[in-house]
């Protein structure tokens, strides 16, 4: 693997990004608007051809951060810089034009393809978004190349999404993302809804693409084993904040944040001898509508001290390239 930290200039960088949503549903509509801070001052830089994993519980803001980083949503504060261009400052038109350098693959392949579009229509539209006047012959060659890249036969071109398996649909979604020759792809839990065998195939496909195309990935996932296999670095999110960011081996060998440790411990190993001591988290994840003061994790943390409930720790470099947001060296 390339050492991603060696390259100084990141391809895409989120700088102190926050995203706040207004929650105006139900009773709360009567008591005035409440706000959800889905992403809270998150900074994350991804180098060219680097794959960064983003893990955390559901609702912790992973997907929102991903969408902000490809310019699908504008951050409420902070900025996203792609190849030196501040996306947040672009006009709607310019932003739309630069979006095609960044693509997204979704979790549920059943809803990520237009049910009325055949495979040919879906991919053709994506190719045309990039080269609007490509001659038909080249278009055909392009289509064939893309299908080949994701390992689907040309006969699937005339299929509609409902005629395909989930794995095939996910391959089409990946082919669509690749059609515009992007330099950065956000993969938003691309294997979470697939069965195990298909998962392995899609993970293998992503690993091949990573190697052959030199595309940078933000890989959002639940499954830590997949993250370990695919990613160079991993960011751990808890309630909108990045609590730990480290090269993959460092994170798996010596995680420094108590939340990361709990996540690691939750992974089942097939080998009973290798099973780690379970680190049980007590309590439910707090509501993002009303996050705890200080360190968001302190009500569930067994190392918590008084200061944790008063002061939220900033990310600090605990070891070279290993950032952690905790007051203590654990």
């Amino acid at each position: 693997m390339v050492d991603p930290l060696a390259s100084a200039a990141p391809l895409v960088e989120a700088r102190e990004v926050s995203k706040i949503f207004a929650a105006k549903s139900g009773i709360s509509a009567l008591s005035g608007t409440r706000y959800v801070r889905a992403v809270d001052r998150a900074s994350l830089a991804i180098g060219p051809a680097e794959t960064v994993g983003l893990v955390g519980e559901s609702g912790c803001g992973k997907s929102t951060l991903g969408r902000v980083m490809i310019g699908l949503e504008r951050p409420s504060a902070g900025s996203v810089v792609f190849e030196g261009v501040n996306l947040t400052a672009l006009s709607a038109h310019r932003l739309r034009r630069s979006r095609r350098h960044m693509q997204i693959v979704f979790q549920d392949p059943a809803s990520s393809l237009d049910p009325r579009y055949t495979v040919r229509d879906t991919i053709t539209e994506a190719i045309r978004a990039h080269h609007s006047r490509l001659p038909r012959r080249k278009l055909a060659a392009n289509l064939a190349a893309l299908l080949d890249m994701v390992g689907l036969p040309l006969t699937s071109l005339s299929r509609l999404p409902h005629e395909l398996s989930n794995g095939e649909r996910q391959r089409i979604a990946i082919a669509r993302a690749l059609a515009v020759a992007p330099r950065f792809i956000v993969a938003d839990e691309p294997v979470a809804s697939l069965d195990v065998a298909t998962q392995a195939q899609i993970v293998g496909l992503l690993a091949d693409l990573q190697r052959e195309l030199g595309v940078a990935f933000l890989f959002i996932a639940h499954d830590l084993e997949v993250v370990r296999f695919l990613c160079h670095r991993v960011a751990v999110m808890y309630l909108g904040r990045i609590v730990e960011l480290a090269p993959v081996d460092a994170l798996f060998d010596r995680s420094r944040h108590p939340y990361t440790r709990a996540l690691m411990a939750a992974v089942l190993s097939p080998d009973p001898d290798l099973r780690r001591e379970p680190v049980l988290l007590h309590g439910d994840p707090p509501s993002p509508l009303d996050p705890p003061k200080g360190c968001h994790f302190h009500p569930r943390c067994r190392h918590a001290q008084v200061r944790c409930s008063l002061l939220g720790p900033d990310l600090r470099e605990a070891a070279p390239g290993h950032l952690v947001a905790c007051h203590f060296d654990l």
Binding site: I104, S112, Y117
Partner: protein, 353 residues
């Protein structure tokens, strides 16, 4: 080259083309249900009657040759020379002086009162008048054939008008949101707070003398709120689908996305509502005509015929035949609507509840 590869059977060369076969697929799926086909055929028949009403039922021949002059389509052209003659006087003249004549299948005009020597008033079904005659001695079948024209024009015309308005406003409201949405929603609420039949009655009363086109305009402009609301909801639902986000990520223009992805996937329920709307509009036209606020009396319409039955108790043919025509048309429209909805839905597999 292409042929060679295909014959070798190694790589099937991708055919690049329009999204072909989709229309054919929809038609095939639609026609596979006998009820759909029956509804469609009946509706097509009514539409044919509406289009060709003057050829099917008229007091003038389709063509005739009399005293050395050839008259083509006097039933439509209405030449001055034949102004005073009907099918039967022409037939008698032909028998006396030579020539020929081709009569329409129903040899009576819709407003032709008292057919000389043949019809009485309020005559029951007979060979000459299969559906009987009304209180002025007009042929009921002829009036029904011409009444189909009013029904189809008002039914389809007003729905096309209000579907266009409703889809446009609903889609814009949902897709652009914010102030646009608020303005459109207030409009919808204002309009739908009036009971639509009374609103139409009031407008018709204010405007006075009515034509069919005026009816189309009044129904079209007062009933778009349901379509707008439905479209808005569907567009809001579809706009959150991942494939719309994916299209945004491709950098496609918002209007392209709205037109190619969002609207086609929102149109299913709207389409069904619109076909049912055709039935509704035909019923409104009949109701208005029945109440005397629709087309003015000489113009035939099914609702008119039903009104005429008032005060002629015992003349069952005045209510039965127009009533059945109205009923069958509305059932057919509903069948076609349901069938279309199923055929257009890409996941439908021919199952019917």
């Amino acid at each position: 080259m292409r042929d060679l590869l295909e014959r070798l059977g190694r790589i099937p060369v991708p055919r690049i083309g329009r999204p072909s076969g989709r229309v054919r697929r929809i038609v095939r799926r639609f026609a596979s249900q006998p009820l759909n086909a029956a509804g469609f055929v009946f509706l097509a028949l009514v539409a044919l009657f509406a289009l060709a009403a003057d050829l099917i039922a008229s007091d003038k021949p389709i063509a005739c040759r009399l005293d050395g002059t050839l008259y083509v389509l006097p039933c439509i052209a209405r030449p001055a020379a034949l102004a005073d003659d009907d099918n039967f006087t022409i037939e008698r003249a032909v028998a006396a002086r030579g020539g020929w004549t081709l009569l329409p299948p129903v040899p009576f005009g819709p407003t032709q009162a008292k057919v000389a020597g043949r019809a009485g008033r309020l005559g029951g079904p007979s060979r000459a008048h299969p559906f009987g005659t009304d209180d002025l001695g007009r042929d009921v079948l002829a009036r029904m054939v011409h009444g189909a024209r009013s029904a189809m024009l008002v039914g389809f015309g007003s729905v096309v008008l209000y579907a266009l308005i409703g889809i446009l406003l609903g889609a814009l409201a949902a897709y652009f949101g914010g102030p646009t949405d608020r303005v459109v929603m207030r409009l919808i609420e204002t309009l739908s707070s009036f009971p639509s039949l009374f609103l139409i009655l009031a407008v018709q009363g204010l405007l006075g003398v009515s034509t069919l086109w005026q009816l189309v305009a009044v129904i079209g402009l007062t009933r778009w709120s349901d379509v707008a609301r439905l479209t808005r909801g569907e567009v809001l639902r579809v706009a959150t689908e991942d494939y719309v986000t994916a299209a945004r990520a491709l950098g496609l223009h918002p209007l392209h996305i709205l037109w190619r992805h969002v609207l086609p996937n929102s149109m299913g329920p709207v389409l069904v509502a619109c076909t049912f709307g055709v039935a509704g509009a035909i019923l409104i036209e009949s109701t208005l005509s029945f109440l005397g606020f629709g087309v003015p009396p000489p113009t035939p319409s099914w609702g008119q015929l039903l009104t005429e039955a008032f005060g002629s108790e015992g003349s069952y043919w005045l209510t039965l035949f127009p009533g059945v025509a109205l009923f069958a048309t509305i059932v057919s429209i509903n069948l076609v609507g349901e069938g279309l909805r199923e055929a257009v839905s890409p996941k439908a597999r021919g199952a019917r509840l």
